[in-house]
């Protein structure tokens, strides 16, 4: 580890420790806002781990997330919750692996649309199984888990996602993915197994999304397919990550925070025109901040650096 890396790791650890104290300071609405931010941070960051270097836009987040929530709903009365979290992660990872094996050779828009359809396919299969085989009556998740605990779980997941992300960036795998993102032909010609590399990252992001779904399930109390597998979630994750910037590990975070706050302000201020204004705000972001917040920040730094030199 270089000195700079040690410093950043220490800073991240301190930041996490401070955040972990948050539930003692704020409560209620602000806490639930924090839960939202933490959830989207984990989802968007793990999404970007895969999509940033490979440029594959995955809309399958909701599939893994919903699966995780369903694992909890199905097992909450018989299996300890902690085990369920693990199972949900595994379920997300396994489905991601299966899907990845089948689809990672698709490129561009085909992959996008396929993953969008995947969320629907998983949802259809899950409800059909529930309807015809398991026959459980409504999916209730009645636990003693409080919002505070959910926040801490998400924070731990965020720490894990950053740790894994950091390790991946430093590893051969991360380097391989950057090459793949640049030129798959070159990647193959320097000996990279691009399918396996992409698959590894896709599985990581699927595992995280599944676990997040399981963490959030107790918050919903009652799990419905249309809610657990909402395509809106997938889109929001993509948008937040792209808004922030996917080429830095911390990029999605700087997308999630302003986006969530903006969303909240619109929802709070204009309850009857929320959707219209969300759409317009979203369009403004796409048109005015095309390279994401990170891009803005970095070009600002570059600009500042240049003016210092010249000044």
């Amino acid at each position: 580890m270089t000195r700079r890396e040690t410093v950043s790791v220490a800073m991240v650890a301190v930041a996490l420790a401070i955040l972990a104290c948050l539930p003692f300071l704020v409560d209620g609405y602000l806490l639930s806002l924090a839960v939202g931010i933490a959830m989207y941070t984990v989802l968007a960051t793990s999404w970007a781990l895969f999509s940033g270097p490979t440029h594959y836009i995955s809309l399958a987040t909701a599939a893994f997330y919903g699966l995780g929530a369903y694992v909890v709903a199905a097992g909450v009365d018989v299996i300890p919750y902690a085990v369920l979290l693990g199972l949900a992660g595994i379920a997300g990872g396994v489905v991601a692996a299966l899907v990845g094996l089948a689809t990672l050779r698709l490129s561009g828009v085909y992959f996008v649309i396929f993953t969008l359809g995947l969320a629907e396919l998983v949802r259809q299969i899950v409800t059909w199984v529930q309807n015809n085989l398991t026959g459980s009556r409504g999916m209730y998740v009645l636990t003693e888990i409080t919002e505070r605990m959910i926040f801490w779980e998400l924070l731990a997941l965020a720490a894990a996602v950053y740790l894994i992300g950091w390790l991946v960036t430093r590893s051969r795998l991360g380097f391989a993915l950057r090459i793949i993102g640049n030129d798959e032909v070159v990647a193959a010609h320097v000996g990279i197994n691009s399918a396996a590399s992409k698959l590894a990252l896709f599985v990581i992001s699927g595992t995280f999304a599944g676990t997040v779904g399981a963490v959030m399930a107790p918050r919903f109390t009652y799990i419905e397919p249309s809610i657990a597998f909402s395509p809106e979630l997938s889109f929001q994750v993509v948008i937040m990550a792209l808004l922030g910037g996917v080429h830095r590990l911390w990029g999605p975070l700087v997308g999630v925070i302003p986006f969530t706050i903006l969303w909240e302000v619109i929802a709070g201020r204009f309850p009857t025109q929320t959707v219209l204004l969300l759409g317009i705000a979203f369009l403004l972001i796409v048109y005015l901040i095309p390279n994401g917040v990170v891009g803005r920040i970095e070009s600002a730094i570059k600009l500042a650096g240049r003016s210092v030199k010249h000044g």
Binding site: R137, Y140, E224
Partner: protein
């Protein structure tokens, strides 16, 4: 200012403004009683909420304020102010909005959200802040467990078992009277609601001596229901029961008409009681059974339907609409009796008897146990034909063709 700095300024202003508005909220507790409302205005449940949920809030607030407000114990009158949020049919948003209402807007009361899932998602938050949650659109069999867990939640619309029981009861009655055979074709939408009802219904139908000759589910959002209806028809049933959601309730009915699925008992669940159902199918709905029902002949109910039409410009439905309105009456009467102390209001609701459009309401174990379960279109009105202890049920008729 060049374009880039202008852009930066705009972004900075937006975020500064956002933070400021988050922090300030709206803290002034003025004269009116502030009441929060969270329900879908967009998303899959928005259309249902637009029929059953939002118009009643509008109607009730209008009526209360027209009278000068709620008459408080001390003789003053306080108007009501409604603060609305759209949860986009997303339970995460529902939770956040309820918390926002409780801790940022600091409203006096919060109306229960719309639908079973969203209500249950919000239940822990209502309980945490001690807001009474008088649900009007959630049906669950877990009432006992939920009311024990959440001391301020109230259920009014019924249970899935009761719904399934009543349908069985009606079919058995018609069968015993020799009007129909005992063969039932049952279909359900593969969503939580439909799955739960179908699950409840299977043993109940069986125990009641009904034979299920066709039993299939279909996915939410199926665009062509004709294979379902064809399949049901091929099984040659005496009765057709669909645990359906709004778009497919319309679709199944239309398809049954086309295919000539002419059972003497024809039941579709949610949205059969919607005025638009009658508007769409006209006279041919006569005899169609559906979830809910009302007794529209009471003076209170007549006044309610008239007022609903006058104030909102829309017709109320014949199931959850008046129930929703009744929950608002309960809240209003409780506030008038004990003021805006939420604990007192909750206790009052648990114990008092209320005069509502649905008749007198008295909660036991935080639930209303007398509710309409099955209604039937008879001459342009959706009458309650079965209930769990309410009076005024019309005798059920058999359906004669489309």
């Amino acid at each position: 200012m060049n374009r880039r700095t202008a852009l930066k300024a705009v972004i900075a202003a937006v975020f500064a403004g956002s933070l400021a508005s988050l922090a300030i909220g709206a803290a002034h507790a003025a004269d009116p009683i502030r009441i929060g409302a969270v329900a879908p205005k967009t998303g899959p449940l928005a259309a249902g909420a637009a029929v059953t949920h939002w118009p009643n809030i509008q109607l009730w607030a209008h009526q209360v304020n027209e009278q000068g407000g709620l008459k408080m114990k001390d003789g003053t009158r306080r108007k009501v102010e409604i603060i609305e949020y759209d949860d986009r049919t997303n339970p995460g948003e529902t939770i956040k909005a309820v918390q926002r209402l409780a801790t940022q807007d600091k409203v006096d009361f919060i109306l229960a959200p719309y639908g079973t899932g969203l209500n249950l998602a919000a239940a822990p938050i209502f309980a945490k802040y001690g807001y009474p949650q008088i649900t009007s659109t959630s049906i669950t069999d877990k009432t006992a467990e939920l009311t024990k867990r959440y001391p301020s939640i109230f259920f009014t619309l019924g249970t899935t078992t009761a719904l399934a029981n009543s349908v069985a009861g009606i079919l058995v009655k018609l069968h015993n009277e020799g009007k129909i055979g005992n063969k039932v074709a049952m279909v359900n939408v593969a969503d939580a609601f439909g799955i739960e009802l179908a699950e409840s219904a299977r043993p109940i139908f069986k125990d009641a001596g009904l034979e299920i000759v066709f039993d299939k589910s279909y996915p939410l959002g199926t665009q062509d229901l004709s294979p379902i209806v064809k399949g049901a028809k091929a099984a040659n049933p005496d009765a057709f029961v669909a645990w359906s959601y709004p778009p497919d309730t319309f679709g199944l009915t239309a398809q049954a008409k086309i295919e000539g699925l002419d059972t003497k008992a024809f039941y579709t669940a949610v949205a059969t009681a919607f005025p638009v159902y009658l508007a769409k199918f006209g006279k041919s709905v006569n005899g169609v059974l559906g979830a809910g029902g009302v007794n529209p002949d009471t003076p209170a109910m007549k006044a309610y339907y008239a007022a609903h039409k006058k104030v909102t410009g829309k017709d109320a439905d014949y199931w959850a609409s008046p129930v929703m309105y009744a929950t608002l009456q309960v809240l209003g009467q409780a506030i008038e009796a004990v003021g805006t102390d939420r604990k007192a209001v909750t206790d009052y609701i648990k114990n008092a008897t209320f005069k509502t459009v649905m008749g007198p309401w008295k909660f036991t174990n935080q639930s209303i146990h007398d509710f309409w379960t099955v209604g039937q279109w008879q001459n342009g009105t959706f009458y309650g034909v079965a209930s769990t202890g309410l009076s005024g049920a019309k005798p059920v008729i058999t359906k004669t063709g489309w």
